[in-house]
Symmetry: C2
Subunit: 299 residues, 2 copies
């Protein structure tokens, strides 16, 4: 098996995640060649101009021809569709990775790839609420967990190469089953997104009656609602490919929220204090363990 | 009426907000004298040592004697209690301000102050999730809206002096009725706090079954849950002094959240897309209007 430095790497989809990956691979000189595949001609020109790829094309076949590693970086359901298209045209021995936010459907589609290729699912736990090539940046993966979900057919060498790639750009690879990954991200990523969306709708209702609410909104609203600004199509794909786990998490959080409401309505200060100080301690301990985050203003 | 530079200013409570105010007033040389009142001897020593006050004391009477402006910076219900105590000992003409996060109960208590003093409610819309003198910092108020809630008895000169103080440390004063303030912050501050608390409880449930969730949790969880780490007593005071408005906001957000749940459960992708893209556009437009915020990692 080749090492990363000997590999030609093709990234399909030059949005935030894909383009940021290209920038790191190319500008840190981590592999033999970096190719980008995108439907957008403007992105091709920009990627060349900014030296974030060696080669960019709108043509999928020539983009993946002879590549050692092909990385799919599109919304989840586009990854699933793309895998169907790629099956017949991938060269023997190609490692096929992805960076989709849910893993069960993608890994099921990867199982259907021809036996001559080596698939492995993946999800780097980073990003930001802005999308597209214009939002890409060097160092996006620095310090991020990168979940790898090998299939039963995935060789150890493929897991090692995928891990080498993640580590090369500063991420921390960790392997787990696709279903387990999807359960965990339902709680820490998909649930916060839906809560943020609901919060923005609630503040909008308030703003319809009194627009001053938007002027007063400060750091508390800013941070709690930030992920609501994420790309809609990306999150729609995530939600519908992780429906059951997300619905279960929504019910869990609703139960806690309604309990807080009941305690406040009944003026049960002791119980309310206990419940709030429990989440206070948990959140503060997590932050301390995760290391120093930037603190920011709060309303 | 004196200008700020001629005033002796006493800040009661040297936590995050009070101590940050002292630091700005003292180190930018904005008033004649800065005094701090705290129950904590250690804080007195530290405030002297770090030159954030001219004088600090645990004794309320001597702390406020002869002060031109007295600013209460404690949790809301402690402000209400403190106003009772202060009434008899404040010198004639003293301007009494506060920085509490709800205004109706505080302004009602201010109405009961003797006629010889000039009360005005206030709430600077800034802060962070860490509490206490150790978290204080210079520049905390820079760019923040500072709501002022004058009473019917409050003179124009008092409003002007309070505005001068807010502007001197970089904040943007804006006046409104206490009840209106409390309605607005229920949506943009108290609601996000309760949602963050519920989210932490939900992720804790998940972590009880699979502790790996805490390792994977990244920027999405971090930001959405940040305010849950806020001081419990401070927020308990806020919630119980703004109960009706908070309960109404909780019901509003629950309705939106349940609508999102229904659309996902019924696989109504078109309606789900519309609802998510509406909050996406609203949140993105707000951020753009508010100016460039630091973007941060997201899971």
């Amino acid at each position: 098996m080749k090492s990363l430095s000997e590999c030609s790497v093709t990234v399909i989809g030059l949005g935030l995640m894909g383009a940021s990956l290209c920038i790191d691979l190319k500008q840190r000189n981590l592999c033999r060649e970096v190719r980008g595949v995108t439907r957008n001609f403007g992105t091709i020109l920009r990627a060349f101009h900014e030296n974030s790829v060696d080669l960019a094309t709108t043509d999928l076949s020539s983009g993946v021809a002879g590549a050692d590693i092909v990385i799919l970086s599109t919304p989840v359901r586009a990854v699933v569709q793309m895998l169907e298209t790629l099956g017949p045209i991938l060269w023997p021995g190609t490692v096929v990775m992805d960076m989709g936010s849910t893993k069960a459907e993608i890994c099921a589609a990867m199982e259907r790839l021809p036996p001559r290729v080596q698939p492995i699912g993946g999800h780097p736990m980073t990003g930001k609420e802005t999308a597209g090539y214009a939002s890409a940046e060097s160092g996006l993966y620095e310090g991020a967990p990168w979940v790898l979900t090998p299939l039963p057919r995935t060789s150890n060498e493929t897991v090692e190469l995928a891990s080498e790639l993640a580590e090369a750009i500063g991420a921390f690879p960790t392997t787990m089953q696709p279903a387990r990954h999807d359960q965990l991200v339902a709680a820490i990523s998909h649930l916060p997104f839906l809560m943020a969306s609901a919060l923005v709708h609630a503040v909008s209702d308030c703003g319809d009656e009194d627009p001053a609410v938007w002027d007063l909104a400060a750091g508390g609203f800013r941070d709690t609602s930030r992920v609501a600004a994420s790309d809609t199509q990306m999150f729609l794909d995530i939600l519908v490919t992780n429906r059951e786990a997300v619905l279960a998490q929504m019910d869990t959080v609703s139960a806690h929220f309604q309990e807080l409401r009941r305690l406040l309505a009944e003026n049960d200060e002791d119980s309310l204090w206990r419940m709030l100080s429990c989440s206070q301690a948990t959140r503060a301990a997590w932050q301390q363990k995760k290391g120093a985050f930037t603190t920011s203003a709060q309303g």
